[in-house]
Each structure stands twice: as structure tokens, then as C-alpha cells.
């Protein structure tokens, strides 16, 4: 038996043991789900039906709110009580379809809201990386194609909106180049050489002065914890100190959120040690670090309350960090955890508070902050909106097409735009708002 056959034999054993013997194809269930999904798509095609559906789909049940979570800290009172981004307005919202885009629908695109347009660039269509992009302007419902970028096709890039340009760096086949797109001038500019090594899956954050690029993975899949800052005013990079993870806390990946001058970074780690010649023991946890962009220093914040066990899509509201429900970090495999709850942190008092369990919280959903509420969707199109003042979730009408994972999503100030679909390349998009 050669090596390839030996490896295959091992993998077959692992697969058969992991799958077990009783594998029952859920044929009827799949056909039913496919029919429901098809019906939803057909509903979109008929504007009259959609309008009726939206009118009927009034705010739904208030879900799972325990009296123990009703206490509201003073700072929570400061969110807008009126306007299109509030939970009450969103609960009465309706869906509409975007006009077809001039480029194929995709996932993992660099996405930004400029104040007047949604920009999308790069990403992947089916299995192919893309180097094209487009801009959608809701005011006249028009798409325009972006000028060609000076970058190779890619996904997995770091990107952020600076208030003036779309910053794109890294990604693709593990690159270290980048560019900025200026929508006012409709031009791309290449970035100077970065002090960072080539990587994918880094995160870019706009601090108000600089773009921080943090973490990512090297070509061989190692998690990286170094960082650099790019100043768009001078078009210069500078190196930043790396995240100071202890040697026995090898980081798996980084999840950052910027809160003005401070960047909070979750760093899940797993450390495997041979405790005897034939025994492996795994320690694991999630460390939280804070980077002060004024002094370029790292620290470990001292916080109280129940810290979230997992962090996937932290959001900054301008007052609080919202950490929507996420599976607790653990290396290895095991049972699915349910009844997950998000957490909220007011940096001013340094205390974590648990959020009410929401209808999407166990479904690995996507979360968007609107300025006054959090909208969440699962990948079947079910949605809910969370009111930060009342700590209350309300269901909203199902999306007529299920938003793909890694679809482009932006909040425009009045509407949520979703673009990019799972499956065959399509240029469909949706708009949701009141």
C-alpha cells in the first residue's frame, strides 16, 4: 500500500466512524424545503403579490424575553427612538428587488456604503475569483460598472471604507498588494508596498485617521497576529506592534472591532501539549486584547460580567460593543450548542451584559447595525430585529430570497441592501426598509 492509499484508508475510517451507520437521506424534507424556497423566489417575481404580502406581514411576535433581562442601563436610553433604522420601523418594513446588476452576483466581495452608493468589488462567482466591481445608487436605482482595478482577481481581501475611498488589500492567492478606489473621481490608486507579509483573510479597520490591517493567514495557513497602519492622507504605511499573545496561547484567528481610538480584538487559541508520550492534552480559550491607536499600545482590558464565549461579528454602535450570539470557541468537534445569546459591553463601565436570546441566534446568522437596531438574518431568509433600548427581538418578514452567506450587505441610512446570491451566478439583490 503506498502513502496515498494509506492516507485514503485512514480518511475512510474517520469518515465512516464520524458518519455512523444510520444515514437516512431526508428526501421528502429536502424536496419540501426546495419547494418553499422556489415559492419564495416566485413571490418576488410578482410585484403585486409582494406588496400584499408586505402589507399583511405586520410586526410579529415578541420573542423570549425574560424579566431578568429587563434592566436597562442609562447609556442604553440614548439610541434614536424614531427613524427608519429603529426596530419599530424595521418591523413594519417590506422587501423590494434591486434592478439587475451589470456584473455577476457573488460572495465575499469587498463592500462599502459611501453615503450615496453601495460599492462592490472582487469576490467570487462560483469557484472563480473576480476583479470587477460595480456601484449601486438607490436614489435613481442605477448600477454603474467600476473602472478596471489595478489588482488581480481575488477574494479573502481586507477592505474598509475610509469616508472617501474603498481600501482593498491582500487576499487572492495570498497577495500583499492593494489599492484604493475613489468613487468621486472614479479612479483606482495602487497602494505603496506594505510592511506586512502576503496573506488572506486579514481585517481592515478605519480608525478615523488610518486604516489598520490586522491578522490573516499565511499561504501555509498559519494564523498571523501582526499589524500595520496605512494613512490615506500621506499614502504611507507604518508597522504596528503585533498582538502580544503569550507563547502558550497560539492564536487560531482574530476577530476585531474598532470603537473610535480603541480596537478590541478577540483571539481564540488552542494549545496542544503532549502530557506523556502517547497523550495529547488541549487547552483552549478566547483572549481579549485592546489596542490604543493613540499610543500604539496593546493591553488586556479588565472587564466584569459575563463575557461572550464566542465572537464572530462584533458591532460598534457608537456607545456599546454588541457581540451577537456565536458558537463558543472550541477546537475539535462536538455537539451543537443551542439557546445562544449575544452580549453587550459599555466600554465606559467595562461590564458585559447578556442580551435576550433572539430567533436567529442559534442559526449562524448575519448581523447588521442600522444606527438604532440590529437586523439579523439566517441563510434561509428568516429575519429579526433587535431593539437595544428595550433588549427585545421582533421577527420581520422573511426575505423573498435567502441571503447567501458572505453576501454584500450595507445599511444606507434608510434601507438594508443585500446583493449577491448563493448558487448559479445571478445579479439579483434585495432592499429592505419601511
Amino acid at each position: 500500500m503506498n502513502e496515498a492509499e494509506s492516507v485514503r484508508a485512514l480518511l475512510v475510517t474517520v469518515a465512516e466512524r464520524g458518519a455512523g451507520e444510520q444515514i437516512v437521506p431526508p428526501v421528502a424534507d429536502l424536496i419540501g424545503r426546495a419547494r418553499r424556497s422556489r415559492r419564495r423566489r416566485q413571490t418576488v417575481a410578482c410585484a403585486v403579490v409582494l406588496a400584499v404580502a408586505a402589507a399583511v406581514a405586520v410586526p410579529q411576535a415578541v420573542l423570549d424575553r425574560g424579566p431578568a433581562e429587563r434592566s436597562v442601563a442609562p447609556s442604553w436610553q440614548g439610541y434614536p427612538a424614531t427613524g427608519p433604522g429603529t426596530a419599530i420601523a424595521l418591523a413594519a418594513g417590506r422587501w423590494s428587488r434591486l434592478p439587475s446588476a451589470p456584473i455577476p452576483g457573488r460572495s465575499d466581495a469587498a463592500t462599502a456604503w459611501t453615503g450615496t452608493e453601495m460599492l462592490v468589488w472582487g469576490g467570487r462567482v462560483a469557484d472563480s475569483a473576480r476583479a470587477d466591481g460595480a456601484a449601486y445608487r438607490p436614489s435613481d436605482q442605477r448600477w454603474t460598472v467600476l473602472p478596471p482595478a489595478p489588482l488581480t482577481a481575488r477574494f479573502g481581501m481586507a477592505y474598509t471604507w475610509t469616508g472617501a475611498v474603498l481600501f482593498v488589500w491582500g487576499g487572492g492567492d495570498t497577495t500583499a498588494d492593494g489599492a484604493v478606489y475613489d468613487p468621486a473621481a472614479r479612479i483606482w490608486r495602487l497602494l505603496p508596498t506594505s510592511p506586512l507579509s502576503p496573506r488572506t483573510d486579514a481585517t481592515a479597520l478605519w480608525t478615523g485617521r488610518e486604516v489598520l490591517v490586522l491578522g490573516g493567514r499565511s499561504e501555509d495557513g498559519r494564523a498571523l497576529v501582526d499589524a500595520a497602519a496605512y494613512d490615506p492622507a500621506t499614502s504611507r504605511w507604518r508597522s504596528l506592534p503585533a498582538l502580544p499573545a503569550p507563547p502558550d496561547h497560539p492564536v487560531d484567528y482574530l476577530v476585531p472591532v474598532v470603537t473610535g481610538d480603541q480596537v478590541y480584538v478577540w483571539a481564540p487559541w488552542a494549545h496542544r501539549v503532549h502530557t506523556s508520550p502517547n497523550t495529547i492534552h488541549t487547552n483552549y480559550a478566547v483572549d481579549l486584547f485592546r489596542f490604543d491607536t493613540r499610543t500604539d499600545t496593546w493591553s488586556t482590558p479588565e472587564l466584569t460580567g459575563d463575557a461572550p464565549a464566542g465572537a464572530r461579528q462584533p458591532l460598534w454602535t457608537g456607545r456599546e460593543i454588541i457581540v451577537p450570539a456565536a458558537f463558543p470557541y472550541r477546537p475539535g468537534s462536538g455537539p451543537i450548542v443551542v439557546n445562544l445569546r449575544g452580549s453587550r459591553l459599555d466600554p465606559a463601565d467595562g461590564r458585559w451584559r447578556t442580551m435576550t436570546h433572539g430567533p436567529i441566534d442559534d442559526r449562524n446568522g448575519q448581523y447588521v447595525w442600522t444606527g438604532a437596531a440590529v437586523i439579523s438574518f439566517d441563510n434561509a431568509g428568516a429575519g429579526a430585529v433587535w431593539d437595544p433600548g428595550a433588549d427585545r427581538w421582533t421577527t420581520i418578514p422573511d426575505a423573498p430570497r435567502a441571503p447567501a452567506e458572505s453576501a454584500s450587505m450595507v445599511w444606507t441610512g434608510t434601507h438594508l441592501l443585500i446583493w449577491g446570491e448563493l448558487g448559479p451566478p445571478e445579479s439579483a439583490g434585495l432592499s429592505y426598509g419601511s
Partner: protein, 172 residues
């Protein structure tokens, strides 16, 4: 109506025929049965939407398997790791003379600890027996990157289990 019912019948036959095999592959990609079934079902729903464009079963299987890898990759990118708890995974003895059950568990843990791209390459290269060119197309990288990821993934497996065969040659 007849076309719809034909399509549903063909799809049902495909699911009945291939579901178990797809779940076994998904177990290797995700690390456990629950997430594996979730992955396979989401991929199958995507396949059903494209059924009319596929050349039935042969293309459907390839499309399903590619969709599974893409979906699993997205889950990984979105930090939902199918790699969840270890508390029920006892520390395992490793060595040439360990029973198959323990060896499989050690390999499963080693696979779960690999970076996503290496794991996906190992599964596609050695379990699905795809070529480097096919894997490169699925993952959106070069064949050279596939080769280096396979090499690193194998090295990680060799660190925890004895793998028979002296050749490290890769099939092209």
C-alpha cells in the same frame, strides 16, 4: 407541471443514491455528523435550484461536492468553525500499535486542528481523489499552492500517526 415532477423525481433519486457518501465527505470537512448533514443539505438545496442546468447525476454530484467545499470555506471564513468541543474527546494514545478506533480518532483530531485550506486539500486529494488542477479550481488557488498545502497537511498527519508507504509522491 410534468417537468417539475420529473425534476423532483430525479433529484429525489440522486439524494437517495448519494446522500450517505456526501455525508461521509462532509464529516471530514466539518468534523462531526451534525454539521456534516447541515452542510450536505444546504449544498443539495443549491444543487436543486440549478438542476435544470446540470447534466443530471454525474454533474450533480460534482457540483454538490464543490458546493460543499465552498460552503464549508465560507463557514470557516465567518468564524463558525464546525470544530467545536473537545470535552468528550478523551486524550488518545497514539502509536503504531494503537487499535484502529484510536488511530481514527487521532487522525480526526489532527484533521480538525489543520488550517481549513490544508484540511480541504487533504479531503479532496486523498478521499475524493481529485487532481491538483481540480482542487486548485475549487479553492481558487494555484496547483503549486495545492501541492504545498497537501504536503504540509500530510506532515501534520505523519506527526501523530504512522502512515504506511515510503513515497511522498503526489499524483498529478
Amino acid at each position: 407541471m410534468a417537468a417539475r415532477s420529473d425534476r423532483e423525481r430525479e433529484f429525489a433519486e440522486f439524494v437517495a443514491l448519494r446522500y450517505a457518501d456526501l455525508v461521509r465527505t462532509a464529516v471530514l470537512l466539518t468534523g462531526d455528523r451534525g454539521h456534516a448533514e447541515d452542510l450536505v443539505q444546504r449544498a443539495l438545496l443549491a444543487v436543486f435550484r440549478s438542476w435544470d442546468r446540470l447534466d443530471r447525476v454525474a454533474n450533480a454530484e460534482a457540483y454538490t461536492r464543490t458546493t460543499m467545499v465552498r460552503l464549508a470555506s465560507r463557514w470557516w471564513r465567518r468564524r463558525w468553525r464546525a470544530e467545536v468541543p473537545t470535552q468528550w474527546l478523551p486524550d488518545r494514545p497514539i502509536g503504531d500499535h494503537a487499535p484502529d478506533v484510536d488511530t481514527a480518532e487521532v487522525v480526526r483530531q489532527a484533521l480538525a486542528s489543520l488550517p481549513w485550506a490544508q484540511r480541504a486539500v487533504l479531503v479532496m486529494r486523498y478521499f475524493e481523489e481529485r487532481s491538483e488542477a481540480e482542487i486548485a479550481e475549487v479553492l481558487g488557488c494555484s496547483p503549486g499552492t495545492v501541492k504545498s498545502r497537501a504536503s504540509r497537511g500530510l506532515a501534520a498527519l505523519r506527526a501523530v500517526v504512522h502512515i504506511e508507504g515510503v513515497s511522498g509522491r503526489e499524483r498529478g
